[in-house]
Symmetry: C2
């Protein structure tokens, strides 16, 4: 198993990426082979400095870096020697099995959507995020922000992909899938929600439990929470802000600690042919380590093959 990691992505790269690799290697007896994509001299220097064992590491030099604020499509096109562009080239050609970056989110999405293929039958790939629940469990939110104007058929697929992810990655045997809506009863909501409800209800590949409301998002009402990406993005960012606000206000509680999204190790893009994981710009070593682990588990558990199967039949 070969996992590619963009060493130049994120506000604290490559230092925190190197420390994340170190953390990952120290925690695993049989680690995956890691392809470290980025500026070779910088990476080598840091690897030596932090005495990272070299057994499972291959450095892939990249001359350029796509900055956080560059225009995604243009940057990917013009900077063919950037770490993100090279990462997707290696992923597309089969030299790597997964690719991870905490760099320019837009460039990662463009790369995921256009450099590698969507899974057969997938209308639109989707990103998911973890939402910490009051009782200590976690739920998955799909779409967490990739698709702004969605059709019911797309949301219906998001539900399937989210359900497979929850099943294989979180070990939930029969994930409860719910639609985010403004009321519990069937027939509630906007046109999209109403039409989506009908599809979800008839979808035999998921265990649909009905609508949930805003007040249920942080409760253990569902394992997979489905909405279009415009609202999903707002919900996710509002949840993330709770961590920052409680920290600034010195409100210390383990519940709000779980809104530190670094601990979940990035956002996987679901519905593309290979695992692509996008980290926060502020990722520290723990986030890099966790992203590598998520990629490894996605490969180990054959998450994408299972998604393909569920979407096909």
């Amino acid at each position: 198993m070969k996992i590619g990691l963009d060493m130049m992505g994120g506000d604290f790269a490559p230092l925190e990426a190197v420390k994340g690799v170190h953390l990952y290697l120290s925690g695993h007896d049989k680690p995956a082979d890691l392809f470290l994509v980025g500026d070779q001299p910088q990476i080598e220097k840091l690897l030596a400095e932090y005495q990272v064992p070299s057994g499972h590491l291959t450095i892939v030099h990249a001359d350029e870096v796509i900055d956080m604020h560059e225009h995604p499509t243009r940057a990917l096109k013009e900077k063919q020697k950037s770490s993100i562009a090279i990462g997707f080239q290696l992923l597309a050609s089969g030299k790597m099995d997964a690719f991870i970056s905490a760099g320019n989110t837009g460039a990662m999405l463009v790369g995921a959507l256009f450099s590698i293929k969507a899974l057969e039958g997938v209308l639109r790939p989707v990103i998911s995020t973890v939402i910490p629940k009051e009782n200590g469990s976690t739920g998955i939110l799909v779409d967490a922000g990739l698709n702004a104007d969605c059709k019911p058929e797309q949301l219906n697929q998001f539900a399937v992909m989210g359900s497979v992810y929850a099943q294989l990655m979180f070990g939930i045997e029969k994930p409860r899938v719910a639609l985010i809506n403004v009321g519990e009863e069937e027939g509630k909501g906007n046109l999209l929600a109403q039409a989506t409800y009908t599809l979800l209800k008839e979808n035999k590949h998921i265990h649909f439990t009905g609508n949930i409301e805003g007040r249920d998002l942080l409760l253990d009402k569902a394992d997979v929470m489905v909405c279009e990406g415009f609202m999903g993005n707002v919900i996710l960012k509002m949840a993330e802000s709770l961590y920052e606000i409680t920290h600034r206000k010195k409100i210390q509680h383990e519940y709000f600690e779980r809104f530190n999204f670094e601990i979940y190790g990035g956002t996987p893009v679901l519905g593309v042919a290979k695992p692509v994981i996008i980290g926060h710009g502020i990722s520290h070593s723990i986030a890099f380590k966790n992203m590598i682990q998520v990629a490894q588990k996605m490969i180990d558990k054959n998450v994408l093959a299972k998604m393909k199967e569920e979407l096909e039949n």
Copy 2:
């Protein structure tokens, strides 16, 4: 000034409504005249029991009550002698200047939309809610849940109505109006957000400050936050749940105390010809008192006349 109050609406009515009236009267030298609509014997008994001074009170007997879970349109039609139906009859005929209820929300909305007129020129009335900001200030969210499928022109009017409300009710001279979106730059978002941005930018009746993201909702980035009602409802209910969750977890902090929506005194319906205020089902005396005060202030400050003026010109 005559303010009507549904004494039978809410989980703890009429007791908490009576106590709210008492609270209101004890806090005001020159209170508004209150029309207490509901079961006369029950109300009289409680008024006597709590020794509420009778100077500014008129009891309007109502034989029936619309329950919390009745179908709004049907109930309003069939229960003409219910407290909500009578309230709207008195409001429509000019015998009352405002109407308040913590009862069946749907029936209140149907009553507001169909028993009394919309302000001239208003495409769709809207409901607003207060959102507590990290720095102690408050913002207004419009639409907090009335309109599920919106057009850009409607959101543009929500912005004007919210701005007038923030100006006159909260004393903010030049309210900052922002559009809830998935990114800060113009051109971000779904089709609705993109088209709405263009309208807001050109709207001379508001001080439009651009897009805000989910992470900004609880920060002091804007005084008026505009979105369609489907997302607004989810945001509001998610915010409300923070109060409940922190209470259950015994996380005591004044910031989360401010997510107790009772202290804001209900949700005004904006864009209809007379003040209509809808309370939470769980309203206690303080909420009833605050709703009366909000109605009084809306009348005092001529909020609806100002909205009409801003929407006309």
